[in-house]
C-alpha cells in the first residue's frame, strides 16, 4: 500500500470572489477506496473537477502514478486513466447504453466497427465487475441505479484505473447504494483506485480505507478510516461538535388529527401508486413512513396535501373530511391547519428566482396581515421573513437575496420556517434533509421534535431510514403502494429493511 495513484500539491482555485480550493494537498494510495468528505460547498466537487480537467487550477501540481501531468481538459484526464461518475449523470437520455458508452471513444468515423468492439468489451466488463446492463436499453427507461452503472461502465470502457464518484448515493435507494458499494469493492479487488466524494458519514465508515475531510475550501485532515469515528469526522467537517443522535423524550399522543382511510391513488399513467392505505395520526406524535423511493410515499403525501387527486378513500383533518377524490384546495387545507413541506423543494416548495421574503409567504400570501389595500404589504412581509431568518438561522441573513443563491440546507430552512411558523395542527414533511448538510440536519431534526412536543401531529416521509428511525414514534413501512407493516422505532434496521424490500415480517405472516 505504498504507491500513490494521485498526488495533489498546493491546488488553488477561485471563482471570482469565491475561493473554492485553498492550497489543497492530497495523497491517494493505489488500490484503495479514498473518501473525501465535507459539507455542501466545502469544495469537494471543484477539486475533483480540477482533477478531471473540467476546470483548471489557478495554482498547484497534479501527479498521476508519480508523474506530474498538466490536465487541461477531460481528454488528458481520460488518457491518464482517470474516470469520473458525476453527481448529475452525464448521459444522453434518449441514447442506448451502448451509444452512451461509445460517445467520445468511437474508434473510427463510421460507427459500425466501434459498435462491434464496444459490444464485446461491454460484455467482458460486465462479467469482470458484475455490472449487468442491457447494452441496447435506452437510458431514460432505466432506473437510476442502472444509469449510474452505465456511468461506471463508461469510465471503465475508457480504461480508467482511477475512478472518481461524486455523491454517488444521493439518488440511490438503500438497496441500490449497497449494490454500488459491492461494485466498488469489486473494483478495488481488481486493483483500481476509487475516490468517493460524499457528505454521508455512514458511507465513509462502511467502505473507505482512508478519508480526507474538507471544510470551506481547505483540506483539514486525512485519517485512516478504521482509526477514526463518525463523531470525529463530523466535528472535522463542521468545525465544531455535532450532535448526531437526536435527543427526544417520550411521545404523549393526544387526539386523532389526521385520519386516512382506504386511500388509493393512481399516477398519470394509471398505475396504482397508493393502494388502500389507512392510518391515524395523533397530536403530539411523529409517524414516519419508511420505504424505498417510488413505493407510493410521494403520492400519499401529495394526495393528503391536496395537490394530487385520489381515486378512492377518505381523509379527515381535525374530524372534517378533505375532498381528496374531488377538488381538495391546498389553500383551504392550509387555513384548516395542514402545513406541507414538499419533497421536492426546488420544483414544488420554492420559486428559486424569487427573493427569500417572497418565498417565505408563498401559499400564505392571502393572509390579511400581508395585505395593504389591493397591494402586498412589503414591509410586513420582510419583517416576518427577517424574523424567520433569525429563528431558523438562515444564512446569509438577507431577506432580499434570490432563493437560488442559498445553499440546499438554507433553502430547506426557508420552507420549514414558512410551514412551521403558522402554528399548524398537522405537519406533513417529505425528505426533510435531502441535500442538506450535517449542521443543518441537526437543526432541522431538533425543530421537528419541538413541533411534536408542542402537540403537533407530524407525518414524516424520508428515504433515509436512519432519519425515520431517529425521529419517529411509530414507523409505517410502505412497499408497492401498501402499508406492509408498522414497527416501533427501536425495531432493528434489518427487520425494517426486509419490510421495505417487500419481504413480510413474521408478525404479518402469522396473521
Amino acid at each position: 500500500m505504498g504507491e500513490l495513484a494521485i498526488e495533489l500539491k498546493g491546488i488553488d482555485k477561485s471563482f471570482g470572489l469565491v475561493h473554492a480550493n485553498k492550497d489543497i494537498n492530497l495523497k491517494v494510495r493505489k488500490g484503495t477506496i479514498h473518501g473525501i468528505i465535507g459539507e455542501n460547498g466545502a469544495g469537494k466537487s471543484t477539486l475533483m473537477s480540477i482533477l478531471y480537467g473540467f476546470y483548471q487550477a489557478d495554482r498547484g501540481e497534479i501527479l498521476v502514478d508519480g508523474r506530474p501531468i498538466d490536465i487541461r481538459d477531460p481528454n488528458t484526464a481520460i488518457s491518464a486513466g482517470i474516470g469520473m461518475v458525476h453527481q448529475h449523470f452525464m448521459l444522453v437520455e434518449n441514447f442506448t447504453v451502448l451509444e452512451n458508452v461509445m460517445l467520445g471513444a468511437e474508434e473510427s468515423w463510421i460507427l459500425n466497427a466501434g459498435i462491434t468492439k464496444a459490444r464485446s468489451e461491454l460484455k467482458r466488463l460486465e462479467k469482470e465487475y458484475a455490472l449487468e446492463v442491457d447494452p441496447d436499453a435506452v437510458i431514460e427507461e432505466l432506473p437510476v441505479g442502472l444509469q449510474q452503472r452505465v456511468e461506471i461502465l463508461k469510465a471503465l470502457y475508457r480504461k480508467a484505473d482511477i475512478l472518481i464518484l461524486d455523491e454517488p448515493t444521493g439518488v440511490l435507494t438503500p438497496a441500490e447504494a449497497d449494490h454500488l458499494f459491492r461494485i466498488l469493492g469489486q473494483l478495488k479487488a481488481q486493483g483500481k483506485t476509487v475516490i468517493l466524494i460524499t457528505h454521508k458519514l455512514r458511507e465513509i465508515m462502511a467502505i473507505t480505507d482512508e478519508v480526507s475531510v474538507m471544510r470551506r475550501g481547505e483540506m483539514v485532515a486525512t485519517r485512516q478510516t478504521n482509526k477514526t469515528s463518525v463523531e470525529e469526522l463530523a466535528e472535522l467537517m463542521v468545525g465544531r461538535r455535532v450532535l448526531l443522535r437526536v435527543e427526544k423524550g417520550e411521545a404523549r399522543p393526544g387526539a386523532v388529527k389526521l385520519s386516512v382511510k382506504d386511500l388509493t391513488v393512481r399516477d398519470s399513467r394509471g398505475v396504482t401508486m397508493v393502494d388502500d392505505v389507512s392510518f391515524d395520526l395523533r397530536a403530539g406524535e411523529i409517524v414516519g413512513i419508511a420505504g424505498v423511493a417510488g413505493n407510493g410515499q410521494s403520492e400519499l403525501l401529495e394526495a393528503i396535501a391536496g395537490i394530487r387527486r385520489a381515486v378512492a378513500g377518505s381523509v379527515e383533518l381535525n374530524g372534517r373530511a378533505i375532498d381528496v377524490t374531488g377538488h381538495a384546495d391546498p389553500a383551504e387545507l392550509r387555513q384548516r391547519g395542514l402545513a406541507h413541506v414538499p419533497e421536492d423543494r426546488h420544483h414544488v416548495g420554492l420559486v428559486l428566482k424569487f427573493e427569500e421574503s417572497e418565498n417565505a409567504i408563498l401559499g400564505y400570501h392571502d393572509d390579511p396581515k400581508y395585505r395593504k389595500g389591493l397591494l402586498l404589504d412589503i414591509d410586513a412581509i420582510r419583517a416576518d421573513a427577517e424574523d424567520n431568518i433569525r429563528k431558523y438561522d438562515i444564512r446569509p441573513p438577507n431577506a432580499r437575496l434570490k432563493t437560488a443563491n442559498f445553499s440546499g440546507g438554507n433553502q430547506q430552512k426557508i420552507v420549514l420556517a414558512r410551514e412551521m411558523e403558522r402554528d399548524p395542527d398537522v405537519l406533513i414533511i417529505g425528505q426533510p434533509t435531502r441535500g442538506v448538510d450535517v449542521g443543518a440536519i441537526e437543526f432541522i431534526h431538533r425543530r421537528i421534535i419541538e413541533m411534536r412536543d408542542q402537540g403537533k401531529a407530524v407525518l414524516l416521509v424520508s428515504v433515509e431510514l436512519d432519519e425515520i428511525r431517529a425521529l419517529s414514534d411509530r414507523i409505517l413501512v410502505m412497499f408497492a403502494g401498501r402499508v406492509v407493516g408498522e414497527r416501533e422505532p427501536d425495531a432493528s434496521e434489518g427487520e425494517i429493511g426486509l419490510l421495505m424490500a417487500g419481504v413480510e415480517g413474521p408478525k404479518e405472516a402469522a396473521q
Binding site: F15, Y52, F54, Y55, D73, P74, N75, I78, M84, H86, H88, M90, L91, V92, E93, N94, F95, E99, N100, M102, L103, G104, A105, E106, S108, W109, I110, L111, N112, G114, K154
Partner: protein, 323 residues
Amino acid sequence: MDYLQLFLELAQSTVRLSTPLILAALAGLFTERAGVFDIGLEGKMLGGAFAAGCVAFVAQSAMAGLLAAVVVSVLLSLVHGYASITQRGNQIVSGVAINFIVAGATVILGEAWFRQGGRTPALAEGARFQEITLPFAETLRGVPLLGPIYAELISGHQALTYLAFLMVPASWWILYRTRFGLRLRAVGENPGAVDTAGISVLWMRYRAVICCGILCGIAGAYLSLAANAGWTKGMTAGKGYIALAALIFAKWRPVPVMLACLLFGFLDAFAIRYQSTPLPLIGKVPVQLMQALPYILTVVLLAGFIGKAIPPKAGGVPYVKER
C-alpha cells in the same frame, strides 16, 4: 389516361416545390439536433438566393452562383453561431435578426448594383441549372404507366432536386451511422455528456451550424437558379418557416422531414393548379383561400395533429459549464 396526366402534373410540381423545403428543413435538422434553434433558415435561404443570382449573372455560371450562395449562407450561419454558441445569446432573437437584415440588405444591394427594382437581371440558360433528362426517358415513354412516370416524374428535374432527395438518406446515414452524427445528436440532448467525454461542445455546434449553412445556401440557389431565372425580393416567401414547421411536424427525423415537405409542396402545387378551376362539389374556391392552405395546414398540424413533438432536450440553451 387523363387522370394519370393530372397526377403526373401535380406530382411533378410537388417535387419541384418541395425541393427547397427539403433542403431547408434538413438544414434545420442539423443545427437543431445539435441544440441550436434556427429561425433564420428563411434569411439564409434568401441571402443564398441573392448571392446566387448576382454571381451567376456576373460569372455567367450556375456553379459559381451555387458556390456563392453556399458561402454567403455559411457566413450568415456563422454569425448566428457566434451569437448563440460563443456569446450565448438568445437563439430566436439572433435568427430573427438575420431574417430582417437579409430581407433589407438584399433589396438595398440589389438596387444599388443592378437597378432593376428588387430583382437581379434575368439569367440566360447557361447561367441556370438545366433540367436533366435521365437515360432512356424518351425511349421508355411508350411503356404503359411506368413509362410516363419515369419520363415525367423521375426524369426531367434539375440537379439540385436530385441532390435534395439524395440528401435525405445521406442525412439519415450521417446522423445515425457516423461518429459525427452520434456526437451531434448527443450535443443537442446533453452537452454535458459530450464535454465530459472530452469532445468540444462549441466546435461540434459550430460544425452543425456550418452544415445548416451549406444546405440553406443550396436551397437558396435552387430558388434563384433553378426554379426561377434570377433573384426577386422576398422570393423565399416564408419557405424557411414552412421548412421549420415541417421539421417539427417530422419530429426532427430525416425521412419524415421529406414526407412532411412533400405534403407541404403538394398543397402548394394543388393551390396553384386549382386556384382558378372550380372543384367538383365545392365550386370555385377563392384564390386567397387556396394560397393560404399550406399555412392553415401548418397551424392545424402543429396545433395538435402530430402528437407530442419533443425537441432536442438542450435545444435553445447555450452551453455553460456548471459551476
